[in-house]
Subunit: 264 residues, 2 copies
């Protein structure tokens, strides 16, 4: 199917995903609606993971947590099924990727607790609406992502460094970028750092750990936001016996409108 | 001891509480610092309770959750001990009050998970600083509190109605009251309702379920905020085998400054 002919509503798009008719990335789909990161852990890890998210709200903004065994996000997408409505899943055992699949119905366990976490697509929409251009979108590549020297706040077995994404912003728009993203704490919120990358332990901006190199041009300032890679990286580092996530860029489409997440 | 001669810093005040030298209410103590509601539940209920708080952030704004067995709030009051640093505790068994004590060291269990939740003292400071008078403080009585016809979002065994507090605000200051409290989602945040009490199921403003009757005068509007009584009421209604809370008004004094909780 072609992106241009797709329906615009998340419910209709989820039906296509469920039917196996859309198995690729979701950036730009269902404009104006919140897309979410997925993380599924067994119940005996769920309290610590929820606690980790609560203690680290910038990298881990919780949109919804399901009860053990429930695959339906009643708050954010009633009627959806997290076993089939994500275009692509990754299955990890003891921290190692063991499979990439388009449906996890046959792997589902009654002790699975599913987490939907905010993703940066929503705040990027807000930035674009505020007239702040986004280089990586213009270039058609992924946002550059870096491991910092800042620790997250530990919770139980979960510990590790903060991971950030970087967007170059013209100096005349840095204040506006802070204001615009501050309104959306549910999707990473305000930047965690503005300016010198070395201050947060990034020695080479041209070598991101994930995503694509993005040049900071004359008159621009590198601005860093907490990144949703953080909870996945931290959870996997603890080598849980089993953990399932979405594949990068293959997000879950919620019925929440971006505007719903604005605190002001 | 007399309130006027007390130290101003939370750490020094907690030492007095721990030594048994301060066993009464904490309103007005440690001005500028966040005071917290305490709820302690056994670990097998902790995930559902944390989930309930996550799903109902206005009545249940989480400041900090301790790991099972830990009585030290490392984020909000390092060095403190939740077994002794609250002036007065209530102990509930199967939803029934069985004891009111000033120390719970002898009742402590390794599976206890402690929750500190935001309380309205902080946003009241912000309202006073914004020039919005608070009738119940002027009158020296407790804020009136009501059960509404709005349901909270259920989590596991936890379900029940939203409980709210009411403050009369002059119509010329209602917008300012919304703005001022919106900045503090960590301590209940923006109002949940402005105006006609019947719209949220309150039939008689003069008969609060808790606290004292507070008249709404000519030119004033009743404004309602989510109340920290909600999580306690909901948790107790589920009749957990054991649950410990602070006694009303006898809060835990954190080292967090009110300003730290402002989102903008």
């Amino acid at each position: 199917m072609d992106r241009a002919t797709l329906p615009k509503e998340p419910r209709a798009l989820r039906a296509l995903v469920r039917a196996g008719e859309w198995q690729t990335t979701t950036e730009g789909l269902a404009p104006g609606y919140v897309q979410a990161n997925l993380a599924i852990v067994p119940k005996d890890l769920a309290f610590d993971f929820l606690l980790f998210c609560q203690r680290n709200p910038q990298p881990c903004p919780v949109l919804e947590v399901m009860e053990a065994g429930s695959p339906e996000p009643r708050q954010t997408a009633p009627g959806a099924d997290l076993r089939s409505d994500v275009p692509r899943y990754r299955v990890y055992e003891h921290g190692e990727l063991v499979a990439e699949v388009t449906d996890i119905g046959d792997r589902w366990q009654e002790d699975f607790v599913s987490f939907l976490l905010g993703c940066s697509f929503s705040f990027e929409s807000a930035m674009l609406a505020a007239g702040i251009p986004l280089r990586h979108l213009q270039a058609g590549h992924d946002v550059p992502v870096y491991v910092t020297n800042r620790d997250t706040v530990t919770a139980g077995a979960f510990a590790g460094p903060l991971v950030v994404s970087m967007r170059p912003v013209h100096h005349s728009q840095v204040v506006r970028a802070v204001q615009t993203t501050s309104r959306f704490p549910g999707v990473h919120g305000a930047p965690v750092h503005i300016g010198d990358p070395a201050e947060i332990g990034i020695t080479d901006l041209d070598s991101p750990q994930w995503g694509a190199r993005t040049a900071v041009r004359e008159g621009e300032v590198p601005v860093f936001w907490a990144c949703g890679v953080t909870p996945q990286a931290v959870a996997l580092a603890s080598k849980p016996p089993l953990m399932i996530t979405h594949a990068a860029g293959h997000m879950f489409l919620t019925d929440l409108e971006d505007a719903h997440l604005a605190v002001l």
